[in-house]
Symmetry: C2
Subunit: 220 residues, 2 copies
DNA sequence: ACCTGAACACCGTTCAAGT
DNA sequence: ACCTGAACACCGTTCAAGT
Protein backbone atom coordinates (compact mmCIF):
# COMPACT_ATOMS: atom_id res chain seq x y z
CA UNK A 1 0.00 0.00 0.00
CA UNK A 2 1.63 3.31 -1.07
CA UNK A 3 1.93 5.78 1.76
CA UNK A 4 0.53 9.29 1.60
CA UNK A 5 3.51 11.58 1.29
CA UNK A 6 4.15 13.60 4.45
CA UNK A 7 5.83 16.34 2.51
CA UNK A 8 5.96 17.65 -1.03
CA UNK A 9 8.29 19.77 -3.10
CA UNK A 10 6.51 22.97 -2.16
CA UNK A 11 6.91 22.30 1.57
CA UNK A 12 10.56 21.45 1.09
CA UNK A 13 11.18 24.78 -0.66
CA UNK A 14 9.16 26.69 1.92
CA UNK A 15 11.16 25.14 4.75
CA UNK A 16 14.41 25.92 2.96
CA UNK A 17 13.32 29.54 2.53
CA UNK A 18 12.69 29.83 6.25
CA UNK A 19 16.06 28.33 7.10
CA UNK A 20 17.83 30.73 4.73
CA UNK A 21 15.90 33.75 6.00
CA UNK A 22 16.83 32.93 9.58
CA UNK A 23 20.44 31.92 9.24
CA UNK A 24 21.61 32.92 5.79
CA UNK A 25 22.96 30.67 3.13
CA UNK A 26 25.53 29.17 5.50
CA UNK A 27 22.77 27.73 7.68
CA UNK A 28 20.99 26.24 4.69
CA UNK A 29 21.96 22.57 4.83
CA UNK A 30 19.94 19.59 3.68
CA UNK A 31 20.00 18.38 7.25
CA UNK A 32 18.61 21.66 8.58
CA UNK A 33 15.77 21.63 6.05
CA UNK A 34 14.98 18.03 6.97
CA UNK A 35 14.97 18.83 10.65
CA UNK A 36 12.53 21.69 10.11
CA UNK A 37 10.22 19.29 8.29
CA UNK A 38 10.63 16.63 10.96
CA UNK A 39 12.07 14.07 8.58
CA UNK A 40 15.40 12.52 7.79
CA UNK A 41 17.82 14.31 5.46
CA UNK A 42 17.37 11.71 2.74
CA UNK A 43 13.60 12.16 2.59
CA UNK A 44 14.17 15.49 0.88
CA UNK A 45 15.88 13.81 -2.03
CA UNK A 46 12.54 12.48 -3.20
CA UNK A 47 11.51 16.03 -4.08
CA UNK A 48 14.74 17.66 -5.19
CA UNK A 49 17.48 15.75 -6.95
CA UNK A 50 20.36 17.72 -5.46
CA UNK A 51 21.00 20.71 -3.24
CA UNK A 52 21.74 22.71 -6.36
CA UNK A 53 18.24 22.05 -7.65
CA UNK A 54 16.88 23.16 -4.29
CA UNK A 55 18.82 26.43 -4.60
CA UNK A 56 17.43 26.98 -8.10
CA UNK A 57 13.94 26.48 -6.73
CA UNK A 58 14.62 28.86 -3.86
CA UNK A 59 15.75 31.67 -6.11
CA UNK A 60 12.66 31.22 -8.24
CA UNK A 61 10.53 31.31 -5.08
CA UNK A 62 11.96 34.74 -4.34
CA UNK A 63 11.19 35.91 -7.89
CA UNK A 64 7.66 34.60 -7.43
CA UNK A 65 7.19 37.19 -4.67
CA UNK A 66 7.71 40.02 -7.16
CA UNK A 67 4.39 41.21 -8.47
CA UNK A 68 4.65 41.52 -12.26
CA UNK A 69 3.65 44.77 -14.00
CA UNK A 70 0.37 45.03 -15.91
CA UNK A 71 1.25 45.22 -19.62
CA UNK A 72 -1.54 47.70 -20.35
CA UNK A 73 -1.09 50.09 -17.46
CA UNK A 74 0.87 53.35 -17.71
CA UNK A 75 4.43 52.15 -18.18
CA UNK A 76 6.15 54.51 -15.79
CA UNK A 77 3.98 53.56 -12.83
CA UNK A 78 4.05 49.88 -13.72
CA UNK A 79 7.80 49.68 -14.12
CA UNK A 80 8.34 51.79 -11.02
CA UNK A 81 6.19 49.43 -8.97
CA UNK A 82 7.91 46.35 -10.37
CA UNK A 83 11.29 47.82 -9.49
CA UNK A 84 10.11 48.50 -5.95
CA UNK A 85 8.65 45.02 -5.58
CA UNK A 86 11.85 43.38 -6.83
CA UNK A 87 13.98 45.41 -4.49
CA UNK A 88 11.74 44.57 -1.52
CA UNK A 89 11.82 40.85 -2.30
CA UNK A 90 15.61 40.95 -2.38
CA UNK A 91 15.65 42.91 0.84
CA UNK A 92 13.56 40.22 2.52
CA UNK A 93 15.84 37.51 1.16
CA UNK A 94 19.30 39.06 0.72
CA UNK A 95 21.01 35.66 0.52
CA UNK A 96 19.22 35.20 -2.83
CA UNK A 97 21.42 37.89 -4.40
CA UNK A 98 24.53 35.88 -3.67
CA UNK A 99 22.91 32.76 -5.11
CA UNK A 100 21.85 34.44 -8.34
CA UNK A 101 25.40 34.78 -9.59
CA UNK A 102 25.93 31.05 -9.86
CA UNK A 103 22.53 29.95 -11.22
CA UNK A 104 22.34 30.42 -14.96
CA UNK A 105 19.01 28.78 -15.73
CA UNK A 106 16.04 30.94 -14.74
CA UNK A 107 12.91 29.31 -13.29
CA UNK A 108 9.30 29.69 -14.34
CA UNK A 109 8.54 32.61 -12.03
CA UNK A 110 11.60 34.49 -13.25
CA UNK A 111 10.69 33.93 -16.89
CA UNK A 112 7.04 34.92 -16.54
CA UNK A 113 7.93 38.15 -14.72
CA UNK A 114 10.54 38.84 -17.37
CA UNK A 115 7.88 38.35 -20.02
CA UNK A 116 5.42 40.65 -18.28
CA UNK A 117 7.99 43.43 -18.10
CA UNK A 118 8.85 43.09 -21.77
CA UNK A 119 5.14 43.19 -22.61
CA UNK A 120 4.69 46.37 -20.58
CA UNK A 121 7.48 48.09 -22.46
CA UNK A 122 6.44 46.85 -25.91
CA UNK A 123 2.82 47.90 -25.30
CA UNK A 124 3.95 51.39 -24.42
CA UNK A 125 5.90 52.56 -27.40
CA UNK A 126 9.29 51.04 -26.70
CA UNK A 127 10.90 49.60 -29.82
CA UNK A 128 12.39 46.12 -29.68
CA UNK A 129 15.89 47.56 -29.30
CA UNK A 130 14.79 50.15 -26.74
CA UNK A 131 13.08 47.38 -24.78
CA UNK A 132 16.29 45.37 -24.64
CA UNK A 133 18.26 48.40 -23.46
CA UNK A 134 15.58 49.34 -20.96
CA UNK A 135 15.39 45.87 -19.50
CA UNK A 136 19.13 45.67 -18.94
CA UNK A 137 19.10 49.06 -17.23
CA UNK A 138 16.11 48.27 -15.00
CA UNK A 139 17.52 45.03 -13.72
CA UNK A 140 21.02 46.39 -13.36
CA UNK A 141 19.74 49.16 -11.13
CA UNK A 142 17.48 46.95 -9.02
CA UNK A 143 19.94 44.11 -8.50
CA UNK A 144 22.84 46.46 -7.90
CA UNK A 145 20.92 48.52 -5.38
CA UNK A 146 19.79 45.38 -3.59
CA UNK A 147 23.38 44.16 -3.48
CA UNK A 148 24.57 47.43 -1.98
CA UNK A 149 21.78 47.33 0.55
CA UNK A 150 22.71 43.78 1.52
CA UNK A 151 26.32 44.77 2.11
CA UNK A 152 25.46 47.67 4.41
CA UNK A 153 26.88 46.87 7.83
CA UNK A 154 23.64 47.87 9.51
CA UNK A 155 19.97 47.64 8.70
CA UNK A 156 17.73 50.67 9.02
CA UNK A 157 18.42 54.30 9.80
CA UNK A 158 19.16 54.11 13.55
CA UNK A 159 22.27 51.95 13.73
CA UNK A 160 23.70 53.80 10.78
CA UNK A 161 24.54 56.88 12.76
CA UNK A 162 26.12 54.95 15.62
CA UNK A 163 28.36 52.99 13.32
CA UNK A 164 29.42 56.01 11.34
CA UNK A 165 30.29 57.89 14.51
CA UNK A 166 32.48 55.01 15.66
CA UNK A 167 34.33 55.11 12.37
CA UNK A 168 34.71 58.87 12.16
CA UNK A 169 38.22 59.04 13.66
CA UNK A 170 39.56 56.64 11.02
CA UNK A 171 37.60 58.35 8.31
CA UNK A 172 38.72 61.85 9.12
CA UNK A 173 42.37 60.98 8.76
CA UNK A 174 42.43 58.68 5.75
CA UNK A 175 39.19 59.33 3.90
CA UNK A 176 38.25 63.02 4.08
CA UNK A 177 35.50 62.79 1.45
CA UNK A 178 33.91 59.79 3.09
CA UNK A 179 34.09 61.69 6.37
CA UNK A 180 32.46 64.71 4.77
CA UNK A 181 29.60 62.70 3.31
CA UNK A 182 29.13 60.89 6.59
CA UNK A 183 29.01 64.10 8.59
CA UNK A 184 26.91 66.19 6.26
CA UNK A 185 24.64 63.57 4.77
CA UNK A 186 24.56 60.10 6.32
CA UNK A 187 24.68 61.31 9.92
CA UNK A 188 21.99 63.93 9.41
CA UNK A 189 18.81 63.14 11.35
CA UNK A 190 16.34 61.12 9.34
CA UNK A 191 18.85 59.79 6.86
CA UNK A 192 18.08 56.33 5.52
CA UNK A 193 20.04 54.73 2.72
CA UNK A 194 16.78 53.14 1.58
CA UNK A 195 15.64 56.63 0.44
CA UNK A 196 18.37 56.60 -2.17
CA UNK A 197 16.41 53.94 -3.97
CA UNK A 198 13.62 56.33 -4.97
CA UNK A 199 16.03 58.99 -6.17
CA UNK A 200 17.92 56.61 -8.40
CA UNK A 201 14.71 54.98 -9.56
CA UNK A 202 13.32 58.30 -10.84
CA UNK A 203 16.54 58.94 -12.74
CA UNK A 204 16.37 55.46 -14.26
CA UNK A 205 12.74 56.03 -15.25
CA UNK A 206 13.76 59.32 -16.88
CA UNK A 207 16.43 57.41 -18.79
CA UNK A 208 13.81 54.90 -19.92
CA UNK A 209 11.72 57.76 -21.26
CA UNK A 210 14.75 58.85 -23.28
CA UNK A 211 15.05 55.33 -24.69
CA UNK A 212 11.34 55.26 -25.46
CA UNK A 213 11.55 58.47 -27.44
CA UNK A 214 14.37 56.95 -29.47
CA UNK A 215 16.67 59.84 -28.66
CA UNK A 216 19.52 57.47 -28.01
CA UNK A 217 21.70 55.72 -30.52
CA UNK A 218 20.16 52.25 -30.69
CA UNK A 219 21.58 49.23 -32.41
CA UNK A 220 19.79 47.35 -35.24
CA UNK B 1 66.48 29.24 14.63
CA UNK B 2 63.31 30.77 13.09
CA UNK B 3 62.60 29.49 9.59
CA UNK B 4 62.15 31.75 6.59
CA UNK B 5 58.47 31.60 5.75
CA UNK B 6 57.79 29.71 2.52
CA UNK B 7 54.61 31.64 1.94
CA UNK B 8 53.01 34.90 3.02
CA UNK B 9 49.55 36.38 3.14
CA UNK B 10 49.84 37.85 -0.34
CA UNK B 11 50.73 34.47 -1.86
CA UNK B 12 47.88 32.79 -0.02
CA UNK B 13 45.40 35.30 -1.43
CA UNK B 14 46.89 35.04 -4.92
CA UNK B 15 46.60 31.25 -4.84
CA UNK B 16 43.01 31.49 -3.61
CA UNK B 17 42.19 33.91 -6.43
CA UNK B 18 43.52 31.42 -8.97
CA UNK B 19 41.54 28.57 -7.46
CA UNK B 20 38.34 30.63 -7.52
CA UNK B 21 38.92 31.85 -11.08
CA UNK B 22 39.40 28.29 -12.29
CA UNK B 23 36.67 26.46 -10.41
CA UNK B 24 34.37 29.03 -8.89
CA UNK B 25 33.61 29.51 -5.27
CA UNK B 26 32.67 25.85 -4.83
CA UNK B 27 36.23 24.79 -5.65
CA UNK B 28 37.69 27.29 -3.21
CA UNK B 29 38.58 25.16 -0.19
CA UNK B 30 41.37 25.67 2.29
CA UNK B 31 42.74 22.33 1.17
CA UNK B 32 42.77 23.36 -2.49
CA UNK B 33 44.58 26.61 -1.72
CA UNK B 34 47.13 24.71 0.36
CA UNK B 35 47.69 22.18 -2.39
CA UNK B 36 48.32 24.97 -4.91
CA UNK B 37 50.93 26.40 -2.58
CA UNK B 38 52.46 23.00 -1.94
CA UNK B 39 51.83 23.09 1.79
CA UNK B 40 49.50 21.52 4.29
CA UNK B 41 46.03 22.99 4.85
CA UNK B 42 46.91 24.19 8.30
CA UNK B 43 49.91 26.21 7.11
CA UNK B 44 47.46 28.73 5.65
CA UNK B 45 46.05 29.49 9.06
CA UNK B 46 49.21 31.35 9.92
CA UNK B 47 48.26 34.04 7.41
CA UNK B 48 44.47 34.12 7.59
CA UNK B 49 42.58 33.42 10.78
CA UNK B 50 39.57 31.80 9.11
CA UNK B 51 38.22 31.06 5.67
CA UNK B 52 35.92 34.02 6.09
CA UNK B 53 38.89 36.34 6.48
CA UNK B 54 40.38 34.82 3.34
CA UNK B 55 37.16 35.59 1.46
CA UNK B 56 37.22 39.19 2.71
CA UNK B 57 40.77 39.49 1.44
CA UNK B 58 39.82 37.97 -1.91
CA UNK B 59 37.01 40.44 -2.50
CA UNK B 60 39.33 43.30 -1.69
CA UNK B 61 41.89 41.86 -4.11
CA UNK B 62 39.28 42.13 -6.85
CA UNK B 63 38.53 45.73 -5.88
CA UNK B 64 42.26 46.43 -6.01
CA UNK B 65 42.16 45.62 -9.74
CA UNK B 66 39.79 48.53 -10.37
CA UNK B 67 41.76 51.60 -11.36
CA UNK B 68 40.47 54.55 -9.36
CA UNK B 69 39.39 57.76 -11.13
CA UNK B 70 41.61 60.85 -11.03
CA UNK B 71 39.86 63.42 -8.84
CA UNK B 72 40.92 66.31 -11.03
CA UNK B 73 40.14 64.90 -14.44
CA UNK B 74 36.92 65.64 -16.33
CA UNK B 75 34.31 63.86 -14.24
CA UNK B 76 32.36 62.24 -17.04
CA UNK B 77 35.37 60.50 -18.53
CA UNK B 78 36.81 59.58 -15.15
CA UNK B 79 33.58 58.09 -13.82
CA UNK B 80 32.93 56.34 -17.12
CA UNK B 81 36.34 54.71 -17.00
CA UNK B 82 35.93 53.69 -13.38
CA UNK B 83 32.58 52.08 -14.19
CA UNK B 84 34.16 50.15 -17.05
CA UNK B 85 37.09 49.05 -14.93
CA UNK B 86 34.81 47.83 -12.15
CA UNK B 87 32.65 45.91 -14.57
CA UNK B 88 35.68 44.28 -16.16
CA UNK B 89 37.12 43.24 -12.81
CA UNK B 90 33.82 41.60 -11.89
CA UNK B 91 33.68 39.94 -15.27
CA UNK B 92 37.11 38.43 -14.68
CA UNK B 93 36.06 37.27 -11.22
CA UNK B 94 32.29 36.69 -11.31
CA UNK B 95 32.34 34.61 -8.13
CA UNK B 96 33.24 37.83 -6.28
CA UNK B 97 29.75 39.21 -6.90
CA UNK B 98 28.20 36.33 -5.00
CA UNK B 99 30.64 36.84 -2.16
CA UNK B 100 29.98 40.55 -1.84
CA UNK B 101 26.47 40.05 -0.51
CA UNK B 102 27.67 38.41 2.68
CA UNK B 103 30.74 40.53 3.49
CA UNK B 104 29.77 43.73 5.24
CA UNK B 105 33.19 45.17 6.10
CA UNK B 106 34.98 46.67 3.13
CA UNK B 107 38.74 46.29 2.78
CA UNK B 108 41.39 48.93 2.21
CA UNK B 109 41.27 48.73 -1.61
CA UNK B 110 37.51 49.10 -1.59
CA UNK B 111 37.65 52.10 0.73
CA UNK B 112 40.39 53.92 -1.16
CA UNK B 113 38.60 53.50 -4.49
CA UNK B 114 35.39 54.66 -2.83
CA UNK B 115 37.23 57.74 -1.59
CA UNK B 116 38.73 58.51 -5.01
CA UNK B 117 35.30 58.39 -6.63
CA UNK B 118 33.81 60.69 -4.02
CA UNK B 119 36.72 63.07 -4.54
CA UNK B 120 36.16 63.09 -8.29
CA UNK B 121 32.52 64.02 -7.85
CA UNK B 122 33.13 66.64 -5.16
CA UNK B 123 35.88 68.27 -7.23
CA UNK B 124 33.54 68.58 -10.17
CA UNK B 125 30.59 70.52 -8.87
CA UNK B 126 28.57 67.75 -7.23
CA UNK B 127 27.09 68.84 -3.91
CA UNK B 128 27.43 66.53 -0.92
CA UNK B 129 23.89 65.26 -1.39
CA UNK B 130 24.27 64.89 -5.15
CA UNK B 131 27.49 62.96 -4.56
CA UNK B 132 25.70 60.51 -2.28
CA UNK B 133 22.93 59.99 -4.82
CA UNK B 134 25.41 59.69 -7.67
CA UNK B 135 27.50 57.14 -5.85
CA UNK B 136 24.55 54.90 -5.10
CA UNK B 137 23.45 55.06 -8.73
CA UNK B 138 26.91 54.36 -10.16
CA UNK B 139 27.52 51.31 -8.01
CA UNK B 140 23.98 50.00 -8.43
CA UNK B 141 24.36 50.06 -12.18
CA UNK B 142 27.82 48.52 -12.25
CA UNK B 143 27.15 45.75 -9.73
CA UNK B 144 23.74 44.96 -11.20
CA UNK B 145 25.08 44.78 -14.72
CA UNK B 146 27.92 42.54 -13.59
CA UNK B 147 25.45 40.29 -11.81
CA UNK B 148 23.30 40.00 -14.92
CA UNK B 149 26.35 39.26 -17.00
CA UNK B 150 27.43 36.55 -14.59
CA UNK B 151 24.03 34.86 -14.80
CA UNK B 152 24.02 34.72 -18.59
CA UNK B 153 24.02 31.07 -19.60
CA UNK B 154 26.75 31.67 -22.15
CA UNK B 155 29.79 33.88 -22.43
CA UNK B 156 30.39 35.98 -25.53
CA UNK B 157 28.33 36.62 -28.64
CA UNK B 158 28.72 33.28 -30.47
CA UNK B 159 27.15 30.76 -28.11
CA UNK B 160 24.33 33.21 -27.50
CA UNK B 161 22.69 32.62 -30.83
CA UNK B 162 22.91 28.85 -30.59
CA UNK B 163 21.31 28.78 -27.19
CA UNK B 164 18.54 31.15 -28.15
CA UNK B 165 17.73 29.06 -31.21
CA UNK B 166 17.45 25.94 -29.08
CA UNK B 167 15.02 27.71 -26.80
CA UNK B 168 12.90 29.31 -29.51
CA UNK B 169 10.20 26.61 -29.63
CA UNK B 170 9.50 27.00 -25.92
CA UNK B 171 9.73 30.75 -26.15
CA UNK B 172 7.36 31.13 -29.07
CA UNK B 173 4.56 29.34 -27.27
CA UNK B 174 4.83 30.66 -23.73
CA UNK B 175 6.84 33.87 -23.96
CA UNK B 176 6.01 35.75 -27.15
CA UNK B 177 7.79 38.95 -26.15
CA UNK B 178 10.93 37.12 -25.17
CA UNK B 179 10.74 35.32 -28.49
CA UNK B 180 10.36 38.61 -30.32
CA UNK B 181 13.33 40.20 -28.63
CA UNK B 182 15.38 37.08 -29.24
CA UNK B 183 14.52 36.95 -32.91
CA UNK B 184 14.77 40.63 -33.72
CA UNK B 185 17.54 41.70 -31.39
CA UNK B 186 19.59 39.04 -29.62
CA UNK B 187 19.82 36.71 -32.60
CA UNK B 188 20.80 39.47 -35.03
CA UNK B 189 24.35 39.09 -36.31
CA UNK B 190 26.90 40.90 -34.19
CA UNK B 191 24.75 41.10 -31.08
CA UNK B 192 26.63 41.00 -27.82
CA UNK B 193 25.00 41.58 -24.45
CA UNK B 194 28.22 43.27 -23.38
CA UNK B 195 27.33 46.18 -25.70
CA UNK B 196 24.36 46.94 -23.49
CA UNK B 197 26.81 48.10 -20.87
CA UNK B 198 27.84 51.18 -22.85
CA UNK B 199 24.27 52.17 -23.61
CA UNK B 200 23.20 51.99 -19.98
CA UNK B 201 26.39 53.66 -18.85
CA UNK B 202 25.75 56.73 -21.04
CA UNK B 203 22.23 57.00 -19.62
CA UNK B 204 23.59 56.76 -16.09
CA UNK B 205 26.18 59.44 -16.87
CA UNK B 206 23.39 61.66 -18.23
CA UNK B 207 21.52 61.09 -14.97
CA UNK B 208 24.63 62.09 -13.04
CA UNK B 209 24.77 65.33 -15.01
CA UNK B 210 21.19 65.97 -13.91
CA UNK B 211 22.19 65.41 -10.29
CA UNK B 212 25.20 67.68 -10.73
CA UNK B 213 23.05 70.50 -12.01
CA UNK B 214 20.83 70.13 -8.96
CA UNK B 215 17.74 69.71 -11.09
CA UNK B 216 16.53 66.86 -8.93
CA UNK B 217 14.84 67.08 -5.57
CA UNK B 218 17.72 66.42 -3.18
CA UNK B 219 17.50 65.88 0.55
CA UNK B 220 19.30 68.05 3.09
C1' DA C 1 58.03 31.49 14.32
C1' DC C 2 56.51 28.37 11.18
C1' DC C 3 54.77 24.01 9.73
C1' DT C 4 52.80 19.16 10.15
C1' DG C 5 49.38 15.29 10.87
C1' DA C 6 45.85 13.27 13.34
C1' DA C 7 41.41 14.08 14.81
C1' DC C 8 36.48 16.17 15.35
C1' DA C 9 32.20 17.73 14.04
C1' DC C 10 30.20 18.80 10.21
C1' DC C 11 28.48 18.45 5.04
C1' DG C 12 26.16 16.41 0.43
C1' DT C 13 25.15 12.20 -1.30
C1' DT C 14 25.17 6.76 -2.21
C1' DC C 15 23.43 2.64 -1.03
C1' DA C 16 20.88 -1.11 0.87
C1' DA C 17 17.04 -1.84 3.39
C1' DG C 18 12.46 -1.27 5.25
C1' DT C 19 6.97 -0.45 4.63
C1' DA D 1 6.04 5.08 -3.70
C1' DC D 2 7.98 6.88 0.18
C1' DC D 3 11.09 6.94 3.99
C1' DT D 4 15.10 5.43 7.04
C1' DG D 5 19.95 4.77 8.79
C1' DA D 6 24.49 3.59 8.07
C1' DA D 7 28.29 4.81 5.49
C1' DC D 8 31.68 7.54 2.31
C1' DA D 9 34.32 11.20 0.79
C1' DC D 10 34.59 15.57 1.67
C1' DC D 11 34.96 20.22 4.51
C1' DG D 12 36.67 23.98 8.17
C1' DT D 13 39.03 24.00 12.19
C1' DT D 14 41.29 22.37 16.96
C1' DC D 15 44.94 20.47 19.05
C1' DA D 16 49.32 18.54 20.25
C1' DA D 17 53.54 18.02 18.37
C1' DG D 18 57.66 18.90 15.71
C1' DT D 19 61.79 22.24 14.01
Amino acid sequence: VPRRPQIDRERVLAAALEVADEGGVAALTMRAVAQRLGTSPMAIYHYVATKDELLDGLVDLVFAEIEPPSPDGPWREEISRRMGAAREALRRHPWAIGLMESRTSPGAASLSRHEATLATLRHNGFSVAATAHAYALIDSYVYGFALQEATLPVDGPEGFGELAEQMMPTFDADYPFMAEIAREHVLQPGYDFADEFDIGRELVLDALETLRMGQTAARG
